[in-house]
């Protein structure tokens, strides 16, 4: 009982702090219909000189007026029904809660949000669009900087900012992609790097056409490989001899030693060393390393005192084998048809432009794109021997670059509603974009674009039909890779640094395996093979050999993954996944607090306020050995009122996972102490281990509500506000009733929030002083 009071205090403290923080105290009348509820259920604790949580309600009720911010905070509590505390004997009925919320909504329109009409693609959307439109396997994601996260996701419009650094990286990526898709015709001219262009590490100088190394070191030349393939590299080398050995040179290609050579040649008659091998596209580096410097200053013969190595030119020829075509070039030729180069480019601009810009292009738009390509590459006037293939390729390369940096591709624009118009139904191509970026993290395909053109996306039924089709497409895997990983906090798990002394097996490969296990489960839910509840209850999983070893399961017979039943001791679904267990641990040990917090935030959608400053963390195991188990140490949380309010719940949940180690393995004891994973919740109920957490989650629909709200945030690119409560409640109820992921997606994409733009961004401002006057 005492504990629950403390919980109540914390919730109200947070909210009282807000009330105090609001300096512009706009007072509003308290709706008459909620006064009885407040008087019956709230004032007992919230009155007098020391009201609970610092919130005094008797005064405002008497005066009939209350701060707007306090009323909004009250609404939040009433909507979540977490005040009065759950253990109060008398609480309002569901209908009373609802009536109170509507009464407040009638007085104060619930806070609503709208996403900016202009936002940019994130790097995953950009990369997937390039993959889907150009059919290339180029790893575009690695070319772009990681996006900032807002509201837990990298789809949030307001944090997808576009500083120059980011725009520049998009430009450079576009050039690289275009260069790989459209290589120059014929073999490239040989590249020769002169000795004075070599980078030297070590001491030396460059004289008479030779770059010298006087000490062990390297001379390196960098060049650009336009097309992957086999290349021949020729290096001119010479040496000044001394000592018993001959000067030795190691040849390096892109940092790797590919050969060692004795250099007997003199500076007057250098030798050449050749190497042939594969180079990938991009910058390459060839180096000569001097391996055996020798110096003996005391020798009488000055010519025998010092051994030095020199390099003349480095020449690169190739590619010797690769054909100069690419699958994209073949396709572009088909689209382009016959005729003069500008006309052919125009056809390609139209076809690619429509895919990338997510809508048909006007004639003027075609012309402008072709003009850009031609201005960049037009042959010099009077030049007689025109090389049409070169003109075509150069033009196409610029065209592809231009398309990939075009604001119509990089930015998603939804026409804002105008003037007094409060809202506007999005048009077909705008809906198509919302659908494809939500479900595929990519641009719409031809079927979706034609559905838009036929007007099928103007009705909820049409939108739902397309969404269901899209969920069956392989591209829907982006939901597990981008939504689920961010929702569950396991995105980038492979970069997590666990202590190798404590958890030696946890390398990046194993961490990636763990992430993929969770993605596979989520994929099966997206496909409809399993109900949404399976995410926290399924007793099956698919593991690869490494994970099978970790879990102590039978390894797959063949390469790849195999379906296995999970151990009885492990909770269902992601609750027993190593990915989640690692992500919620510290580098050296489990963290019951982080696990409890994770369950509250991700699965129950209740973010506990963080600890007050000055609170130390739990000591490491060394201190625990002084006779206290982690569990006993955490009992201190209960005794300290500052901690108890939140930690009682969080710790009870987190400690229930204690038989699962920070690497995801099962354990029955820790530091020689057997682990008791039965814990007591504030309401007196007992959680028996992680399976007890599973039962607790399965007993309510909070899990469905949490998934629904998180997916809505991901889909819309903005956080939710009070006005979204009704929608989130409905999504959760439908999902709980039907149980399949497609129902949830259908609920989101047919909602007004998804299909209609409202005019709510007046208070938002432009991030830069203002655009310069348009001079065109």
């Amino acid at each position: 009982m005492r504990v629950s009071r403390l919980f109540a205090v914390a919730v109200l403290s947070v909210f009282a702090a807000r009330a105090v923080a609001s300096s512009s105290a706009d007072e509003v009348a308290i709706p008459a219909s909620i006064k009885p509820l407040l008087e019956a259920h709230c004032v007992d604790c919230h009155e007098g000189t020391k009201p609970k949580g610092g919130l005094e309600l008797a005064g405002p009720i008497g005066a009939g007026k209350i701060d707007e911010s306090v009323l909004r905070a009250l609404r939040k509590r009433l909507a979540k029904r977490d005040m009065p505390p759950a253990d109060e004997p008398e609480r309002p009925s569901l209908d009373e809660y609802r009536a109170a919320v509507s009464a407040i909504d009638a007085l104060l329109p619930p806070l609503a949000r709208e996403v900016a009409a202009v936002r940019r693609l994130n790097r995953v959307q950009y990369a997937n669009a390039v993959r889907d439109v150009f059919g290339t396997e180029i790893d575009v994601r690695e070319m772009l900087p990681r996006d900032e996260i807002g509201e837990g996701f990298d789809t949030t419009a307001d944090t997808l900012v576009l500083p120059t650094l980011v725009l520049e990286r998009y430009f450079v990526a576009a050039e690289e992609i275009a260069a790989q898709l459209v290589p120059p015709a014929g073999p490239a001219a040989p590249i020769t790097i002169a000795p004075d262009r070599l980078e030297r590490r070590g001491q030396g100088n460059t004289r008479d056409g030779l770059a010298w190394l006087w000490t062990n070191g390297t001379l390196t030349g960098a060049f650009e490989v336009k097309r992957a393939g086999r290349y021949r590299i020729t290096i001119e080398a010479a040496a000044q001899q001394a000592g018993n050995d001959v000067a030795r040179l190691a040849l390096l290609v892109d940092g790797k030693v590919v050969g060692e050579h004795a250099v007997e040649a003199t500076p007057r008659q250098p030798m050449t060393i050749t190497w042939e091998g594969a180079l990938s596209a991009g910058e390459s580096r060839v180096g000569a390393r001097f391996l055996n410097d020798f110096f003996a200053g005391e020798r009488a013969d000055p010519q025998r005192r010092d051994r030095n190595l020199a390099v003349g030119f480095i020449r690169v020829e190739g590619p010797l084998d690769a054909p100069s075509g690419t699958p994209f070039l073949d396709r572009a030729k088909v689209i382009a048809g016959e005729g003069p180069v500008p006309r052919r480019l125009r056809r390609v601009a139209g076809a690619l432009g429509e895919e990338l810009f997510r809508r048909p292009l006007s004639d003027a738009e075609h012309e402008a794109l072709v003009r850009t390509a031609r201005e960049a590459t037009a042959p010099e006037k009077g030049s007689k021997d025109r090389d049409l293939e070169r003109e075509w390729r150069d033009g196409l390369r610029v065209l592809v670059t231009a398309l990939l940096v075009d604001p119509r591709f990089l930015l998603r624009v939804e026409k804002p509603s105008k003037g007094a118009e409060a809202s506007r139904a999005l048009d077909g191509s705008e809906i198509a974009s919302r659908l494809s970026f939500f479900l595929w993290s990519s641009v719409p395909d031809a079927a979706l674009r034609s559905a838009a053109a036929r007007g099928e996306l103007d009705t909820p039924a049409g939108v739902a039909r397309e969404a269901r089709r899209m969920l069956k497409d392989p591209r829907a895997a982006s939901l597990s890779q981008r939504f689920a990983t961010q929702w569950l906090g396991i995105d980038g798990l492979e970069t997590r640094q666990m202590d190798p002394k404590v958890y030696p097996a946890l390398d990046a490969a194993l961490l990636a395996s763990m992430r993929r296990e969770t993605e596979r489960l989520f994929d099966s839910v997206v496909r409809g093979d399993r109900p949404v509840r399976a995410l926290i209850t399924t007793r099956e999983t698919e593991v690869d050999a490494a994970l099978a070893a970790l879990y102590g399961m039978e390894p797959p017979v063949e390469a790849g993954v195999a379906r296995r039943a999970i151990d009885d001791a492990r909770a269902g679904g992601v609750l027993g996944h190593a990915s989640v267990l690692v992500a919620t641990s510290n580098p050296t040990r489990t963290s019951p607090v982080k696990r409890g917090k994770w369950v509250l935030e991700a699965l129950l959608d209740e973010a506990p306020p963080p600890p007050p400053p000055g609170v130390p963390q739990l000591p490491e195991t060394k201190d625990a050995r002084h006779g206290l188990s982690v569990r006993e140490l955490m009992a201190e949380h209960r005794d300290n009122p500052d901690c108890a309010s939140c930690h009682v719940r969080m710790d009870a949940i987190g400690l229930a996972f204690e038989r699962l180690d920070a690497d995801g393995r099962f354990r029955s004891e820790f530091d020689g102490l057997s682990i008791d994973d039965s814990t007591e919740m504030p309401d007196g109920s007992v959680l028996r281990g992680a399976r007890g957490v599973e039962s607790m989650l399965a007993a309510s629909t909070s899990f469905e509500r949490s998934l629904a709200r998180h997916l809505l945030v991901y889909a819309l690119g903005r956080g939710t506000a009070d006005a979204d409560d009704v929608l989130v409640d409905r999504l959760a109820a439908d999902l709980a009733a039907k149980g399949d992921f497609a129902t949830l997606v259908e609920g989101i994409v047919t909602a007004d929030a998804f299909r209609i733009r409202t005019n709510l961004r007046d208070s938002a401002r432009s991030s830069l002083p203002s655009a310069r006057p348009a001079v065109d």
């Binding site: 202009v118 509201e151 307001d158 004289r207 200053g297 850009t372």
Partner: protein
């Protein structure tokens, strides 16, 4: 005659100083002399001043950080500052400075997010998980804009570097968007600048890809001009129907295109030949210390070639929980910063603080190796090093750990301000030293001169 001279080397060997060869000096042949600025700067007696801000997260072990002052008021290295002993005369230690707007002020927890967002802006960031992020324009950007208004044309307006990219999944700090914790440079109140985290990519961005022939470079410039021109036209056309509240991304796009167009013009004039001074990106081990030091070397080269005059470098994101096994700390940085006065944690925390001070020292060494008119570049570079949290355990934002190095002045002092003096006063002081005539910034109520 193709035989190399051995005399020089013999001398070096004789002096036993083979390693002491100032490796950058001779190897940066033209640099600034031929840049677009030559006309302006050559006329002036002194080279232009540059400003760099180095930030580290999670505050310090206060006892290990705090240096004492000797009888002359000069600081005596503390355990954390010991790696800076060689630079005592180049560094002032500041005490008493505070960032009021990194404190809660009713916004509840979130000191890490707030301290990074406030560090160079002096503003209280808006508490939001992502929608409508808002802090303030940072002092480095105020300087960059002012220099641009003074007619200074560098290839990069400013340079933002850091060792950790934007965070991945999760809530960064108590309801604050991760963008607050991962940025200190804010171009405007709602536009964090991001940062380059790969030393090699940072180098390529400044100095371009090597291995291009002049013809290829010219063709590329022509194609870029044409593409930028077309992109700007389309962006302006799109912008015609978009109102002020919705056009942030479009304005940023147009601003970016303008900056890139400017870069193309400067490229044609700049001489960025750095020859042998290219850092050895391949040879360096991938540990965090070498990576930060390489970023520092790239930054020194950027200053040397006058590619930019203002830069920021985040040694790690705020709240970073990276382990520092390089110095024997397997626990996360943030975890040990909440030491709770536990001696083991305190000593691990101090080890991380010291490791970061070593990075600062390495950067100062790079600025010393690079010479300009025969003087170390450090003489014409002001470097501020600090955090917006004092005690990592308490999250307090007063008596902040702040050092200032370089910039033509004789240093070595402990500069004690009255407790509670805004750190923004020092921001104003540094900006003024860099020739930017401002009186007010953030919550400044005066000037702390440097």
């Amino acid at each position: 005659m193709r035989e190399p001279l051995i005399d020089r080397r013999t001398v070096l060997r004789g002096a036993g100083a083979a390693i002491a060869l100032p490796w950058l000096e001779a190897m940066l042949p033209r640099g600034i002399a031929s840049s677009a600025l030559a006309a302006t700067t050559a006329a002036e007696a002194a080279p232009p001043l540059r400003v760099a801000y180095l930030f580290f997260p999670n505050g310090v072990n206060v006892e290990a950080w705090t240096p004492t002052a000797d009888a002359r008021g000069l600081w005596v290295p503390s355990p954390t500052l010991a790696p800076l002993a060689d630079f005592r005369g180049d560094i002032d230690v500041y005490t008493g400075l505070r960032h009021r707007h990194a404190e809660a002020n009713g916004d509840g927890p979130g000191d890490h997010a707030r301290s990074a967002a406030c560090f160079l802006t002096g503003m209280q960031p808006k508490k939001t998980a992502g929608d409508d992020i808002r802090a303030g324009k940072s002092i480095d950007q105020v300087i960059a804009d002012d220099l641009a208004e003074q007619g200074v044309r560098t290839r990069l307006r400013s340079l933002e570097l850091g060792s950790e990219p934007a965070m991945t999944a999760g809530n960064c700090d108590s309801g604050y968007s991760c963008a607050y914790s991962a940025n200190i440079s804010w171009k405007s109140e709602s536009l964090p600048n991001g940062k380059e985290t790969d030393p090699r990519a940072a180098f390529d961005r400044i100095f371009g890809k090597r291995g291009q022939s002049p013809e290829e470079a010219a063709a590329q410039a022509r194609s870029r001009r044409s593409i930028l021109d077309g992109a700007a036209k389309e962006a302006r056309r799109l912008g015609m129907s978009i109102g002020a509240s919705d056009r942030a991304r479009l304005d940023e796009y147009l601003e970016g295109v303008r900056e890139l167009e400017g870069r193309l013009r400067e490229d044609a004039l700049a001489d960025l030949e750095v020859g042998d001074a290219v850092p050895d990106f391949d040879a360096a081990p991938r540990d965090i210390g070498s990576r930060i030091d390489l970023l520092g070397e790239v930054l020194a080269l950027a200053f040397k070639t006058d590619s930019t005059r203002v830069a920021t470098l985040m040694l790690a994101n705020e709240g970073s929980n990276r382990p520092y096994r390089e110095v024997g700390v397997s626990e996360g940085h943030h975890d040990v910063s909440h030491h709770g006065k536990n001696p083991e944690k305190l000593s691990k925390f101090a080890a991380i603080n010291r490791f970061q001070t070593e990075r600062f020292a390495a950067f100062l060494r790079a600025l010393t190796r690079v010479k300009e008119n025969g003087r170390p570049l450090l003489d014409s570079t002001i470097v501020m090093y600090g955090s917006a949290i004092n005690d990592g355990n308490r999250h307090n934002h007063d008596d902040l750990p702040i050092l200032v190095a370089g910039g033509r002045a004789k240093r070595g002092r402990v500069v004690a301000s009255a407790p509670g003096t805004p750190l923004c006063n020092l921001h104003v002081g540094i900006a003024r030293a860099a020739g930017v005539k401002i009186d007010r910034f953030g919550d400044a109520n005066g000037v702390v001169g440097i």
